[in-house]
């Protein structure tokens, strides 16, 4: 690894120890797959550009395996990275028989790109060390504690940034929103109990698959719960009945209409009058 600046990077040593025990799986310590990969790559103790991606892939997969064994809920990006690495590794190892899919870059190029990215992240982490290692104002160096009574103020600055402007605007709009919000105006909902009673009442008629919207009671023009509330409460109640074994629900695809039907097999308990 090349130390391009700040030779006293003691954090490298600390991380080394951490990386050697990389299988002490502590996802909390990592921000994302790239940070895990960087920690793993350090154990190879080579220039990041000469990194063995296949070894790195193995290490990472072992890490993921261990993490799953310990029942960590792994974020999707960890798993996607795992499969991508496994794929890259396989492409690196397989002899290049014929040309791969035209649009895909050679595996070596993809590997080099990953190495570059790790190198870049590493450089940024060193940069953090280098910057925070500098003498900081009010921590290491101090300006005049008691400037003169008649102060010379740097005059060509106005204390207002674009961020201040944005923040001021949002604050305003938020306040305005709060003013218009009227908590006494409650939205009337279709009660769940009523929805259950309603379902029990019409159950005998649900021999065929019926769209949810038709099963739910129709809203009243003059006030009362909204149509959405009728549908939502009816859906909740029907799911309860499905759980109890009194009903079936189906949907052919996401966002398609839901269909309800009375269940014939198994006795629907006390539902039948």
């Amino acid at each position: 690894m090349t130390d391009m600046f700040q030779p006293n990077l003691d954090f490298a040593a600390a991380d080394q120890a951490e990386a050697e025990e990389a299988f002490v799986v502590d996802l909390e310590g990592y921000e994302g797959p790239l940070h895990v990969l960087l920690a793993l790559a350090r154990t190879q103790k080579v220039d990041l550009l000469k990194l063995s991606i296949t070894r790195l892939a193995e290490q990472y997969l072992a890490f993921i395996h261990e993490a799953r064994r310990r029942n960590f809920a792994l974020a999707a990006d960890y798993l996607v990275m795992a499969s991508w690495l496994a794929y890259l590794k396989s492409r690196l190892l397989l002899p290049r028989a014929e040309k791969g899919k035209a649009e895909e870059p050679p595996a070596e190029l993809m590997a080099a790109a990953l190495a570059f990215r790790l190198q870049k992240l590493e450089a940024m982490r060193k940069a953090v060390e280098a910057i925070t290692g500098r003498p900081q104002l009010k921590r290491d160096v101090f300006t005049r504690g008691d400037p003169e009574a008649t102060v010379i103020v740097p005059s060509d600055r106005i204390d207002a940034s674009l961020y201040d402007l944005m923040a001021a605007y949002v604050t305003q709009r938020r306040k305005e929103q709060a003013r218009h919000y009227n908590p006494t105006q409650r939205i009337e909902a279709f009660p769940l109990e009523a929805a259950r009673d309603w379902l029990r009442e019409i159950m005998p008629r649900l021999d065929d698959w019926t769209p949810l919207a038709e099963v739910a009671p129709q809203g009243d023009e003059a006030g009362g719960p909204s149509t959405a509330s009728y549908v939502a409460s009816t859906l909740s109640a029907s799911l309860e009945l499905v759980k109890e074994g009194g009903m079936d629900v189906k949907q052919t695809a996401a966002f398609d209409p839901l269909y309800l039907r009375r269940r014939d097999v198994g006795q629907p308990m006390e539902l039948t009058p």
Partner: protein, 221 residues
């Protein structure tokens, strides 16, 4: 630090006293200085040496009521009062008003007040006009023909914007972490780059006789 092994010599003590006096929020007594130095350090000697060193410089070491502090050489005090320019610090009200004008321009005083929910004190708009961040733009063709306000070129310059189109929008506010889930789904930020509105007469159109009208109000930048 390495205090324990390292026995500071006179020059080092002098440096330390210099730093302490410089950074202190008020005058320090010899005892207060000694407390922060290694035992046996000759504080009196260091102060005398420093006093000597700063003799005739732009800054001198002064003793007030047995305490020591740096102060400007008396003959240079004229420097301190001359050409003193206060930085223009925008008050919260001014910044908020400016933000509303920026995003909702052109807008009238009543519109600003309706967003802010409080009435605008006279000084706020005046200040913005005087600073040159805001200009009178025209008149709304509504009863009373209220004046409309907009931002000026100086505003764009100060905030580093090429045009009012470049004001950060909803996406940017979200990216900067300013908007969260508590914001209503319909929250929108107007695009302030619109041309003159239908119901608005621009001041420049109105006042053929006195094209300088707007400038007169806004003042020199």
């Amino acid at each position: 630090m390495s205090d324990l092994e390292f026995k500071p010599d006179e020059a080092e003590i002098e440096r330390r006293v210099e730093a302490l006096l410089f950074a202190a929020a008020g005058p320090l007594s010899a005892a207060e200085i000694a407390r922060r130095l290694p035992e046996g350090a000759d504080v009196g000697g260091a102060i005398a040496a420093l006093r000597q060193r700063y003799q005739g410089r732009g800054v001198e070491l002064e003793c007030v009521a047995d305490r020591w502090r740096f102060r400007t050489a008396p003959d240079l005090s004229f420097l301190m009062t001359e050409e003193r320019e206060e930085p223009r610090r925008l008050s919260k009200a001014a910044l908020e008003t400016l933000a509303i004008i920026a995003y909702h321009q052109p807008c009238t005083r009543a519109e600003i007040e309706s967003v802010r929910g409080v009435s605008l004190s006279r000084g706020t708009l005046d200040l913005l006009l005087e600073m040159g961040f805001v200009r009178l733009r025209g008149r709304r063709r509504t009863p009373g023909r209220p004046v409309t306000y907009a931002t000026s070129d100086k505003f764009l310059e100060h905030f580093g914007l090429a045009s009012v189109h470049d004001l950060p929008g909803v996406q940017d506010m979200r990216a900067a972490g300013l908007l969260d889930l508590s914001m209503p789904p319909g929250f929108e930020v107007p695009d302030p780059g619109r041309g003159p509105e239908e119901d608005e007469d621009l001041l420049s159109d109105l006042d053929h006789d006195s094209p300088e009208f707007a400038q007169d109000f806004v003042g020199e930048e």
